[in-house]
Symmetry: C2
Subunit: 369 residues, 2 copies
């Protein structure tokens, strides 16, 4: 076994999920993630945790969803499983990213709705989502298998504690700030010029560990929950939404709400997202990507939104950790991240001060105020 698979498992179990002896851990294994599952089982055994291993096969799920004619049910076993679990480790990495392409949207939505309680129980655990590099994901990224493995391990196997320190500077700026403005394009006619309030919200230093309220491996972003958004944003990073390619999205906000939108490609997929529920046309997240080891877009949101020199805005649900206790933020059944590359002709301002210009933060060398 590639030694990096073992290191990946150690980062996941030790740094990300903070598994301790006696913890009850559910490990979900995608069709192509067998090798990582073996390494994770080994690490859980060394730690002395208990493990239930589930099979996260999209082909199995597709067959089940397409065959079911009636109403979906939450399922007593899944609920019992997550309610009794301390942690949930999702090992993604399938054999075909289009495996569920012929499951219609209503069926997915009905299944999702029926399982709200299961999902909540799962998110009440110390959950972490990661992926094992597979040929299918390499294909989606437009990369060779060898190069894609290299890319994944560069992003995953890093000194997270050190990155967390760097990210804490941005966290402090966001925590102390009240208004964020993002600009991109020619100064006289920017394609992106948007302002949003973040006063009273908590910024999360997402350092790939539940100890940082972070549930993705890799991670490497600082995020918060904005509101009262006004202005226009152009998202220049292509992405896949519910299996559909979406490119060149433009959103216009007034008073926190999307009042105008278009897309160069996949506009109807975007429209379907916006029409899900009232919360789907408001923002749930502003995230600043800071993992510079992610140096290209691979059409996988787990990586894309953490890329250095980017920001992303998510339509829909806000994360509880970003909100004051007992305050609920934007609520929605969806959470769709849209990304803008800020590596050039751009800046981020907080309360009028430039904190990043052309991808360089003000605490970094080469920053031009």
């Amino acid at each position: 076994m590639d030694e990096r698979v073992r290191e990946h498992a150690e980062v996941l179990v030790d740094w990300s999920a903070r598994i301790e002896p006696g913890d009850d851990v559910v490990v979900d294994v995608a069709e192509g993630a067998h090798d990582l599952a073996v390494a994770v089982a080994e690490r859980l055994g060394e730690v002395g945790a208990n493990a239930t291993v589930t099979y996260g096969s999209e082909e199995v799920r597709r067959a089940y969803l397409r065959a079911n004619e009636g109403e979906f049910d939450a399922g007593a076993t899944d609920l019992a499983l997550f309610e009794s679990a301390d942690a949930y480790l999702r090992l993604g990495g399938g054999r075909n990213t289009a495996a569920m392409a012929d499951v219609d949207a209503e069926t997915r939505q009905a299944y999702r709705s029926a399982r709200t309680e299961v999902r909540e129980a799962r998110m009440d655990t110390d959950w972490v989502s990661t992926v094992h590099p597979t040929r299918s994901l390499a294909q989606r990224a437009g990369m060779s298998y060898a190069a894609y493995r290299e890319f994944v391990y560069e992003a995953v196997l890093r000194d997270w504690e050190r990155l967390a320190e760097t990210m804490s500077e941005v966290q402090t700026l966001l925590d102390d700030g009240e208004t964020v403005r993002i600009l991109k394009g020619r100064d006289d006619q920017p394609r992106t010029d948007v302002r949003m309030s973040i006063a009273g919200r908590t910024a999360i230093n997402s350092a790939a560990s539940v100890a940082y309220d972070s549930h993705n491996l890799p991670s490497g972003e600082v995020f918060t929950a904005p509101y009262d958004t006004d202005g226009q944003v152009f998202f220049d990073v292509p992405m896949t939404v519910d299996g559909r390619r979406v490119e060149g999205v433009r959103l216009v906000f007034e008073g926190g709400e999307v009042v105008e939108f278009d897309a160069e490609r996949g506009e109807d997929a975007l429209e379907a997202v916006l029409e899900t529920d009232p919360g789907a046309s408001r923002l749930g997240e502003l995230g600043v990507g800071m993992n510079r080891r992610i140096d290209r877009f691979t059409d996988n949101i787990l990586f894309d939104e953490k890329m250095g020199d980017t920001v992303h805005l998510a339509l829909g649900r806000a994360y509880d950790a970003t909100l004051p206790d007992n305050e609920s933020g934007n609520e929605s059944a969806v959470h769709v991240d849209l990304i803008t590359d800020l590596s050039e002709a751009s800046r981020i301002e907080i309360d009028g001060d430039v904190i990043q210009r052309n991808g360089t933060f003000r605490f970094e060398e080469g920053f031009e105020p």
Copy 2:
């Protein structure tokens, strides 16, 4: 997909496990059983049952067991899973029957002991064990993959209701009888001549369905729980016990207990079984194989013990269904089946009447009294 995979799933879900709408079903998928899992998920979807799919990977289990240095724990998640389940479908069929060969016996035993409660919860469900034909199982059987698939589907896809009717004749004979005698070999010097009492015990018509107290697919045997065994048995069918080849076992019983034993091969593996606990040197089962579609030994107990014209005796644990209510039968941590071919030079007697000679039952054509 081979249409027979779909038929296998239907027999499993409908005939064997009797799954109904809303049932909570745990499906365990061995590494090589993906295609059967897809078909089973489809059938469960059609029926409207809920499913939790677990990954029964021996490589994952091996890694976990070998890494664990300390004591094993039952694990809250597995227990919660089976306590909330109505049924458990185990889809065997790995990629290497020796996958766990380097996990030592003490570790296996410690893990097994720690999980008694989990096992009991699992056996309290409507559980059914089957296998998807894999190249690994074909290899173990000494067969080509194509021929092995043919063999498995011949054994599995049959008219179970009709076989149940035939088997009910043997069930009645065993239920009404008090003493069974099995003989094989030259009349003046039989290698096998053993008597056992079955009075008061219930014979199970194991027709591959929980409705018949039968938990294997394929099945096709009638079994009961004997006691007070006396005499000698020679088991001429080779088998694998805890990963060790065992052949030519001879057991001598007095007053229900093994008092003498030897084996032409693997005698120490046999000895280890007998020394497990006091119940391991007493019989827990007498089974009569009646699935004539199983026409050869394939070194897989799921099939071998059901082969037509054979009997098997199991050292160790008796099944509750064979015992009167509130009576406990032979107890042991093991249940090891040993098989004798009765197709020639042999007979089975019940209370002195010959009920089978050279593999032909007295209710069948060609029977010689």
